[in-house]
Symmetry: C2
Subunit: 348 residues, 2 copies
């Protein structure tokens, strides 16, 4: 069809779809003019929005779909009855090789379930996980956290797999040979927490040559950058992720409220503006938008449902970067090495 | 003994005990000169620190203890073998009526287990919970979150009890007749989350005249003040609490790093100083230090293990306020009304 890198887009997924989606794609096109987009959704609306946004006609093709996966749709139902949806069709384009990655801001559970069925799970992986990159207070160091919501309940084996995948992911993205991995718990002492976490800790400790296991970490260790990778079940991880985002927003809002009480403060803001801008840039959740499904045979990126166009752009950028870095093949090779290398296999 | 309000203190519990503890007690004495403190721990060290801090000899009595509950001690072991510890003795003073409340910055699990055994659980409560007050971005509105770590795993009945206790607690502290209660989940849709949460939601919905159930809330809703009370199992609650604290610290640290890059910013800070001070005061974790064990026949307050003297002071202040407001009796009466009122009992 074309030699260009192709990204398929679920144009109907997300709180303000397709408006935000198309505006985000336009931003992505500006930065990556060579990327071609397959847009799945309501053709008339998408074409109108593409024109409104001034999106180059050579940069996309629309595939008309009529079905939309709702935010409250059960994943199992979505998989069974959603085969005509924009989400399924967009994922399917990755399966057929028409696209190299899919991006959706729709129902996370449905996207996970559909991606899993449509793309398949990598050999050696029992449960894929959602991973995201977050800022830390250590300069130049981000943290990769997983699982962030794919698996509400996990056993020890799942947690160990997440640790391996997170570690490999960090190595690929940041080039760090042995990233440290922490298990999220409610205390750093060995006696604390749920049984499956203690069991996972024992397995990771027994495989020290293969994985740089740090120990238990707590909620505050994520932002402190105590470890490069933080592993948790999908429930706690999701709660932590959203609590972190919520706190940043809360502080911003309270700061704004206090500002209003002081004219002097406005004067101060003029001087502080470049500093606050840098701060904002470093922790801007939009910059960190784009969660990845690790453990699938294909790249599927989830944007926040409520992301604005800049946030959506970053999710698309994440997908492009993963494709350009041949992420799937690298993680497959690395996983094989860690889990299946014959002399010294991973001991459960 | 004395007519004064008496607080018993586990002087040996906490990361920097007894130093921080005694310094915190000194601050509490300055604000509440009529309160009398029973200090449990190493007599020689406590007396030396009391003198160093200039703590009035009329404000305290030291009870010498030699055993200290370690941070990594298992709660079950602490309860069995820890009866000579500063923690146990301090709690025991509440049981005998010598003190009206106990404060400890030591091992949370041990403090919970000991408080439960020593003080007993209120009628109608199966599992006591740790609750704390946190700031929100809604002006003048705090949020009460529970459980924050007492119960790593919870069933639907536990969650419902937490909802009732949190609601009653909020009413007592803030005088709000029908505080709204949210269940912490990984999505607001009804199909999301773990089974026990969905079950708890159904029970709460069926008791709408007794409790103002809002629905599912997510991590960001805590700081947004979406509901007055947020209920979760102790694992997710603990992760959320620490993630929130960690994020505030991270932003502060990154702000400091960015400040160093700009001389102008320092100039701006002079004007902004009062505003930042107000912001800090509103979200200062030390101000919100002092978690309560809800559901016991007695007041037991947990300070952060790493709290400084000001943080410890606030934990002591929380204990004093709860005593002055006759908290235990009020919550007992309220719980009885909600759970046991004959015509219209709480339906499980």
């Amino acid at each position: 069809m074309t030699d260009r890198l192709v990204i398929s887009i679920d144009a109907m997924g997300g709180d303000n779809a397709p408006e935000t989606v198309i505006a985000g794609v336009k931003l992505a096109h500006e930065k990556y003019p060579d990327v071609f987009f397959l847009l799945y959704g309501d053709e008339a609306r998408i074409e109108a929005l593409a024109e409104q946004n001034g999106l180059d006609k050579q940069a996309y093709r629309v595939y008309h779909t009529t079905q939309v996966i709702k935010a409250d749709e059960k994943p199992s139902a979505a998989v069974r009855y959603g085969r005509e949806s924009s989400m399924w069709k967009a994922i399917y384009a990755v399966r057929t090789g028409e696209a190299s990655a899919v991006v959706s801001a729709g129902n996370t559970g449905a996207l996970m379930a559909m991606s899993k069925i449509c793309l398949g799970t990598m050999a050696g992986v029992d449960r894929p996980a959602i991973a995201a990159i977050m800022p830390t207070s250590v300069q130049g160091q981000d943290v990769v956290a997983l699982d962030l919501g794919a698996n509400a309940e996990c056993n020890a084996t799942n947690l160990v797999e997440f640790a391996i995948m997170g570690s490999v992911f960090y190595r690929i993205v940041y080039g760090l040979q042995k990233p440290s991995v922490g298990l999220l718990n409610i205390g750093s002492e060995e006696s604390k927490g749920r049984e499956e976490i203690k069991e996972a800790a024992n397995i990771l400790k027994a495989n020290a040559e293969k994985i740089n296991y740090y120990g238990f970490v707590e909620g505050f260790d994520i932002g402190a950058g105590t470890t490069h990778v933080v592993v948790s079940d999908g429930f706690s991880g999701n709660v932590a992720l959203k609590a972190i985002e919520g706190t940043a927003k809360m502080i911003k809002r309270i700061f704004g409220q206090q500002m209003k009480k002081s004219l002097l403060a406005y004067l101060g803001m003029i001087f502080l503006f470049p500093t606050l801008l840098r701060l904002k840039k470093r922790v801007d959740p939009r910059r960190y938008n784009g969660a990845m499904f690790l453990g699938l045979n294909g790249i599927s990126v989830k944007s926040h449902g409520g992301a604005d166009e800049l946030g959506y752009f970053h999710a698309v950028e994440t997908a492009i970067n993963l494709v350009q870095n041949d992420f799937c093949e690298k993680i497959r090779v690395e996983l094989e090495e860690v889990i299946f290398s014959s002399e010294d296999s991973f001991e459960y």
